[in-house]
Amino acid sequence: MNADVYEWLRREIRNWQSDGLISCEQAESLQSKYPAERNGRPWGMIIFSCLGAIIVGLGVILLLAYNWDAIPKFAKLAMVLGAVAIAHITGFFLKFGEARYRALGEGISLLGTMLFGAGIWLVAQIYHIDEHFPNAFLIWGLGALGMALAIDSIPQAILAAVLLVVWGGAERMGFETPVWVVPVAIAFILGALAWRRRSVILLAVVIPASLLSYGFTVPLGGDSSWLLFSTFLSLAAVLIAASRLSAYPGNFAAAGKVFGFYGWVIFWLMLYLMSFPGLAHHFFYWYGYPLRWTHWLFGLIPLSLVVGLWSGLAYLKKAGKIRREEGDPGWEVYLVPLTVVLGVVDLMSAQSVAGWIVAGPFNLVYIGMVAAMMARGCSEGLLKPTAIGSVLLVILVVARYFDLFESQLIRGLVFVAIGAVLLVEGFLFTRARKQKEGRAVQ
């Protein structure tokens, strides 16, 4: 069985399991018949050949940067063009040759793309070209993207994502030019590749790369910081919905953890910031500047995604197509779209309200979610929600210590109360854990 077929089988077994066609034990039994050691992807070869390719490529760039006068111009050009051609052709024959050399072929092709980048800078150096420098990252990134699509290469796709983000960032920071095509290309082209290859690693790069490049395109300025903030709040909700939808049969189940990680990190960061009256007012107050069409676009696209995905999720849950697994968030997950709705309401009324009227509801949502996590962790004996909920509670209490309670007495009482809650939580968690272990033994 070759690596691709083995990968397909692993995916299918996971899908059968999530569809409820086979039990966890049956899945493990099937997996054990085809051990990964002999048939899995040769990760050692992939990682070392790709790391080697990147380091050799960077070394070549630095060597060429020395600009050695003793080497004639045409010799330098011949060296770089020859090196690109040799690396790619070697990579080509290895990739499409014997199965055991395919991973090495992918690594050598990556070296070819690194050398292609080195070639762009070398030609610029030889002819003293000092034009619009982000173009070099664009051309290099397109070279990597083309190769990623040609051979479905995850390392080439990661390189393309990094280079395209650098391109978008350089255009935005250096020349105030937002490049819309970057987040779209990364999310849809590289995201599709990650989905097709069921690659968690590529997805883990694609999500922050598309978010970062999307951030580079949001119109900024004194009147638009609210837009960046509300956009990222909506995108966090989109990612959390996507993490739940990944569990739908036939989908990319392993992607759920990646979507969930980024979604929850951004969501909690946004919710925490909005719990401060000053910041919440700043984020939702748009100073009465006239809204441009870009504001509507940037506000409405993520918002419609929130509405679409969360409606779909609610429907699939109701229809029983998506089941809640152990460790998944409970009812409190619906506080996520509620937070987005609260944000929209605040945006629409920000001219007239301020202070705790804006931040208060976000504090309540924060406390509600934390309490639900802690309660679920304690009742089901799960460490992750219990620990994360406790840490988030302490973070909120410390923040409010400085801006809510002026009386030392009240501050002291609040700390005593929170300490007591954590002690009770510890007791309940230990009890639930023991009960769970007891059930497992039976």
Partner: protein, 334 residues
């Protein structure tokens, strides 16, 4: 299918590199060769190594040389990265200077394609980049160039040899050093008014290997004073009252022969009315009396034309061209 796609991408990568090099190589062989005056600095680029950053005289263009009314109709932000065409004329000494700047590509003549930096109103100078602003060199060579540029108090202008295609695309071919270097010394008033600039001395040094002559007109007419608008924050003051209305005719006594390494100094007393500059309200003042610290000036040595010098005894030695001093203002020299 996948193999074909991969081969296509490989070919495209090679074609991109080949085109980048090939287009430049074609311009180097077929393009019109000109020289552009510049000042070098030596930074380092992480990808391309050591290079000499070049600040061209033609990179700073007064707005009165802009053709068409587009500049007044566009916002400051939209000027950034705007494609423009700079029409050039060949001056004496073989160095090209700006004729005019336009939004449209000129139908004929010598011109360069460039991009605008962001224009900040109400500045009266536009900054244009031509993609020629970096000269890459081995690190020791880059440092050597910087050393040759400054010979003690004397700064020697660098003249880049550039090949220009009919579309205005330019490729650097090489460089030469100007045969004359220029030094700038300022003289301050005694304390307590020690930030007041009283006089400037311009020293011209023959840095070539041949004998050269410079012209120092006895009426001071070899030098002119220019407001350095590219570095000044204000453009509502500091315009020079202008040259003498009726300059004295050139004589052999005005011609100074300089052997290699020799120099000649010309002192300008800025407290004299002929070196006064305008102030808001239409009056004139000595530079030392200007209210603003931001206004900077340069003295310009302009050799008379070959035609004007034809009857002079040492006419064949006279260097024809223009040299610009360092910028100076109230109490400082750059």
């Amino acid at each position: 299918m996948r193999a074909g796609f991969m081969l296509l991408v490989i070919v495209l990568q090679l074609v991109v590199l080949g085109f980048m090099a090939g287009e430049r190589e074609w311009i180097l062989h077929r393009g019109q060769v000109i020289y552009l005056r510049t000042a070098p600095l030596d930074p380092v680029d992480p990808f391309r190594g050591s290079y000499v950053r070049l600040d061209y005289d033609i990179g700073h263009i007064p707005t009165n040389l802009v053709r068409g009314g587009w500049l007044g109709k566009t916002t400051d932000r939209l000027t950034q990265e705007k494609r423009v065409y700079v029409s050039l004329k060949q001056a004496e000494g073989g160095v090209a200077t700006v004729d005019y700047l336009s939004e449209e590509k000129p139908a004929e003549g010598l011109f360069l394609r460039g991009k605008l930096d962001r224009y900040w109103r109400p500045s009266s100078v536009l900054t244009v980049r031509y993609g020629l602003e970096a000269f890459f060199a081995q690190p020791d060579k880059a440092k050597q160039m910087e050393a040759l540029r400054r010979r003690g108090e004397i700064q020697v202008p660098l003249e880049m040899e550039v090949a220009v295609s009919p579309k205005g695309i330019s490729v650097m071919k090489g460089f030469r050093w100007c045969e004359l270097g220029v030094g700038t010394q300022i003289e301050m008033a005694a304390p307590p008014t020690n930030r007041e600039i009283r006089a400037v001395t311009i020293t011209l040094m023959n840095v070539s290997s041949n004998a050269l002559a410079v012209v120092d007109r006895r009426d001071g007419g070899s030098l002119s004073l220019e407001n350095d608008e590219a570095r000044s924050w204000r453009n509502d003051e500091g315009k020079w009252v202008g040259p003498r209305q009726s300059p004295l005719p050139l004589t052999d006594a005005d011609v100074i022969l300089l052997k290699p390494g020799e120099s000649h100094a010309m002192k300008v007393d800025l407290t004299k009315p002929e070196w006064f500059v305008s102030i808001p309200g239409g009056e004139t003042q000595a530079i030392a009396r200007l209210q603003s610290f931001g206004v900077m000036f340069r003295l310009i040595y302009q050799a008379p034309s070959a035609e004007e010098c034809r009857s002079l005894e040492k006419a064949s030695f006279i260097w024809h061209g223009k040299l610009v001093s360092s910028a100076f203002g109230r109490g400082r020299v750059d």
